[in-house]
Amino acid sequence: MSAWKRFEFYTLIALLAVAAPTVSAKGKAAAKKPLDELRLVEGDEKGNEEKSLKAELLVSASENKAIQQALKLIKKYKGTPLEPDLHFRLAELYMRRSKTDRFFEVHRESETIVKLAPRVARASSVKNSVQKAVDTYGVIQTRFPSFGQMDLVVYNRAFAYQILGQEKDAENLYWQLISKHPNSPLVPDAHLAIGEIAFNRAQFALALDHFNAIKKYPNSRVYPYGLYKAAWTYYNMRDAQKGLKKLEEVVAYGKYISDNKLEARLDLRKEALNDMTLFYEDVYPAKDAYSYFKQQAGELEVGPILLKMGSLYERHSRFNEQRVVLDRFIQELPTSPLLPKVHTDLVLAFDHLRQKDQSVNRLNEFAKLCNSSSSWSKGVGKTPEENKKSAEECLTSLNETSLKLAKKWLKSWKKLPSDTSYADASEKAFEIYLRTPGQGEEYAQSRFAYAELLFARQKFRKASQEYAAVGHVSAPGALNHDASYGALISLEKAVGEKWSNEDEKSFHQLAQDYIAKNPKGQYRLDIEYKMALLAYEKERYDEAAPTFLRLGRDFAKQEKGLKSQDLYLDILNIKKDYRGIRNYTKELMKGGTDVARTQKMRKLYEQAYFLEVQGLEEKGQLKEALAEYIGFFKQNPSSDLAEKAMWNAMQLHFKVGDAWNGAKAAEEFATRYPQSPQSVNALLRAAQTFEQMAQLGEAARVLEKLAARDEKNATRWKELAADFHAMNGAAPSARRLYNDLKTAANAEKRKTLLNKLDALEQAYGTDQSRAEIQRVLIDQNVQPQANLAKVRSIEALLDAGKDTEAFNQARHYLGSSGMSPNEKARLRMVHAKILEQEFLKQSVKSRAERVATVLAIKTEKLQKVQEALQSAIKFGDPKVSLDAFERLYGCYAHYVKALKEMPVPAGLSKEDAQAFRAELDKLVIPLEEKSVDTLAQAVTFAHKQQFLDGTAARLENELAKLNQQSTVNVAPELRKPAMVVPVLSGVGI
């Protein structure tokens, strides 16, 4: 507000104070009937409004009645001497009603007015009433120029014009009063009014003339006001010193009327002293302010003036001057009750001077002042109660100031974080503020702000304490929540990585506080998670586990909830509680919507399941482990571990001694996991096991699978499968495989396979199949089978009586190369046998003249047999040789017998017959010896060869017979010993 405006304001007050009694003195008398029911009640705004309305309506009604009455009287007393008085009275009533109209005009928008008196409200008009007063005063001036109170009529009409804003008309009338009624007591008032009008028009010289004109009337009621206005006019004319002098005159006049007890006069000392501060600022230095105002104030208190002086300096940003004035105040007035305000202003002055350190220092001084033990606190009041009250107010003021500055500096620091002086100052201010224990929202908010500041400045441990303090004092709600959480976070940051037991205990306490007051707090999950995490990190798994479990369940869709689940699983893993992991992951999988996580859980579930089973295995619970492995891969066929489970189950089958199911499992493994690197091994194991269990059919079947799987060794496995099929009596399968293999085999391998086919057919084949393989062997010249087959076929010819054919073929093959000695021995035996038959068939019956020829023929045939047999013996085949020896002996024996039994030819005399017999005997004796020798040779050979067919014993007996051995040979014929079965009576298994 400018100085000029301020003057206008004070002028209006003065006008009301001066003019109102003039106008309202009579009005007040008319309304001097207060009604109890219209008495206002404090606090009842609406009721009071209604009461005021009712009062004004009553006043308005009585005013209107009075006006009507006056108008009637004017009519009645028209032309009489009463008429001008009645007009004057009417004009006053109009002016009075204008006040009532003003009420309605001002409250025209009020609902109560509109509701209760809408018509009156609309009809009311200040302007109309005042204009009617102007007109009425004009009637008096015009029609009754000699009216006795004309100066009052002129003044009132001028004032009414002023109300209507017609200042020119008003000014003319004021001049008319001064010039035409110079003795009127209203002349100083008219000068004041003209001065005011000029002042308002900034015509300060004119105004000053009129204000100075009032000096001529020291007894006038408006005299000090004229001085006062003159001072302001000088001030507006930029002459503060003269203005100050005028105000000094006002002060002196006030002192005069005070000293002389002229109470009817206006004492404007206080207003003047107050305004002097403004003028002083422009005239004298701050350091002299105390002395100056001490002198001017006299018996009045100088403290408030000095305080105002300081405020002015502050308002004009002259903080140094303010500081000077206030410092002097503190120094000169140490017991002033205004000291808290002075300290406050001083603190703020330093702040304005951007001396935050000083400001903080002053706050500390201020705090000392407010301390209950300070001399000021003890002496500021008249009684201890007053002292206490003042000290409390001081403290309140201190706290308001410190808090205000703390917040302000905090705000500044936030805008300019690089300037840490704000943060330092704010911190100290907060500390001062918070020294006083407090309650309530603001206090809590302030401490919270302090904690925030500390946190922002990374003073985490202190921040944690402050947050916690807020948490303790504040009621549940947003602030409590944030503070409680802040305490936890700060502590967490203060601690860093390594948590001492003490810190962890604190964290627990803070966490419990948070949860107690914020059971549904936003960070409950984080906090509980952190608590559990701390326990987890310190390996207190039993403590951490239940929390993680609960958080994992309650906050399954949040990140921490998921982490809790993971950590709970980790604890279970650390404890090797695989059953627990298995159950938990199963539970998590049920409610899972996140595909990736569900998959992860499934993987964990499977791993735990698997590890659990492995645990059983490690503990030696093999049967249980086996059942679980089987259960695993049945339940989790698509698991990555299913393959391993099946493999392990297979191994366990073997471990528990169930080789049969082990082999089956191995085969199933290979079937289910054909791409597994273990697939071949599994099949090998299965085949080996079936083989060990003499399950040749199973082994062969598995080997065929293996052949299909293990291409590198396919031939080998197929051949083994064929072997097993063969020995299992599955000749068709064996035959098929051998033939398959034969097709792709090289020459050497083909030979091997043909030999196997030969063995197969010999053991399990039909006559037809045997003949067929023989043919193949011969066609492909597979040795020794081909040659043996040839030999056998020649022997068969012999057996079939086809001697010539047999003889010729035998001779043919004996002549060819490639036959082994054994084969040649057998072929030679074919010859020998044919010749033997011819020899045996050769009869020795004959006439006498033919005896020599017959015997020659027989002997020749014997020689041929002998030659053939000896030739066969020479090839060295033991069996053939022994057979040959025996046959040779037989031939000799036969010849001996034939000679001995040879009939004497017919026609011989007795002497000739005797001579014939004697000749035969000569032939027989060497042959008999030859026969026995041959048999002895056969026996010796048989003994040497260790034949098991009984030949040796038979020949030995024959020899004993020939030798006419006296004692019988009791050695039994060598026979295959009897089949035996085991007797396990002593077996301890």
Binding site: K756, T967, I989
Partner: protein, 320 residues
């Protein structure tokens, strides 16, 4: 050729299995565990198992039902043997198969499967099974014995003798093996070897008639007539129907021991048994003539000795 198949197969399998196991420990321990069990079985078995010729087996009968499947393998073995004696080869096959699968560490499953195969002349299979049994119990002679029998049947004499020899070495209760080897040794003139085997046979079965006869022959060949007489008498005791043993006894007593009275008694017994057709073969000797001749000789000896002493009459009843 086929005989070696399972052996050939087993080696690479064992190597592959040990090399390819997922869990080396598990695979190794499983194998070593099995081996340990097998060793235990083998050791126990080799030390104590006995044998008996099927014909001599007594007591147990081949079961008609399948309740045997609920028994342990050691209880099934005698039942299977009874079925062998009863020639119920289908059941023998079943029991062998059951034991092969359910008691695969023991050799008895394959053994009975071999006997079953042998019964139907499936010799390759029988040999394979026996070799499998030998893999499980390498020190058991019974399997060599059976292999010897099969090679004998196949006229593979050398192989048969080889296995009989192993059988004899490994199991002292295999009387048949000892006898065969003893007789063969005697035939080739190795009397010491022959006596060794025959003693083993007689230790196993003191009444084994063939062994007693061979032993008697061995002694006769060695001109140990007293001992020959003893063995002949034991042989007769073991087999009273043996014509040769009785004749040989009589001849030894008459010709070599000059125990004419004993000889006469032996001839008379022989004659009486022949008349009663209680001999296993005919006697190629004129017993009446022999008895008369011997009586004369005894009379002459008796008369020559009357001067100095009197002897009681040698006439008496024939004792069998």
């Amino acid at each position: 050729m086929m005989n070696a198949r399972n052996i050939i197969f087993a080696l690479p399998i064992a190597l592959l299995i040990s090399a390819c196991a997922t869990g080396p420990k598990a695979a190794d321990s499983a194998d070593s565990g099995a081996q340990a069990q097998l060793s235990q079985v083998t050791a126990s078995y080799s030390d104590r198992v006995g044998s008996v010729a099927v014909e001599q087996m007594k007591g147990t009968t081949c079961p008609a039902d399948s309740k045997w499947e609920n028994l342990t393998w050691s209880k099934i073995v005698p039942l299977a043997s009874a079925c062998v004696k009863a020639k119920d080869w289908l059941k023998v096959e079943k029991m062998g198969d059951w034991m092969a699968r359910n008691a695969h560490l023991t050799p008895w499953g394959p053994y009975y499967l071999a006997l079953s195969a042998e019964s139907r002349r499936d010799y390759p299979r029988a040999v394979w099974m026996l070799e499998l049994a030998l893999k499980k119990a390498p020190k058991e002679g019974i399997f060599h014995y059976e292999l010897g029998r099969i090679h004998w049947e196949l006229k593979e004499d050398a192989e048969a003798i080889k296995h009989m020899r192993l059988a004899s070495e490994l199991n002292p209760t295999l009387t048949g093996a000892h006898w065969v080897l003893g007789q063969l040794a005697m035939q080739r003139g190795d009397n010491a070897e022959a006596e060794k085997y025959l003693q083993k046979a007689l230790s196993s079965d003191p009444e084994h008639a063939p062994s007693l006869l061979v032993m008697a022959q061995l002694k006769m060949n060695a001109k140990e007539w007293d001992r020959a007489e003893t063995y002949l008498m034991r042989a007769i005791s073991a087999n009273p129907r043996s014509a040769k043993a009785r004749l040989a006894l009589a001849q030894v007593q008459e010709q070599h021991l000059r125990k004419f009275e004993e000889a006469l008694r032996s001839y008379r017994q022989l004659k009486q048994l022949a008349a009663e057709r209680k001999l296993d073969e005919g006697v190629q000797l004129n017993l009446d003539e022999k008895i008369q001749t011997l009586k004369k000789s005894l009379t002459q000896v008796s008369e020559a000795g009357k001067v100095s002493q009197r002897r009681p009459s040698a006439e008496g009843k024939v004792h069998e």
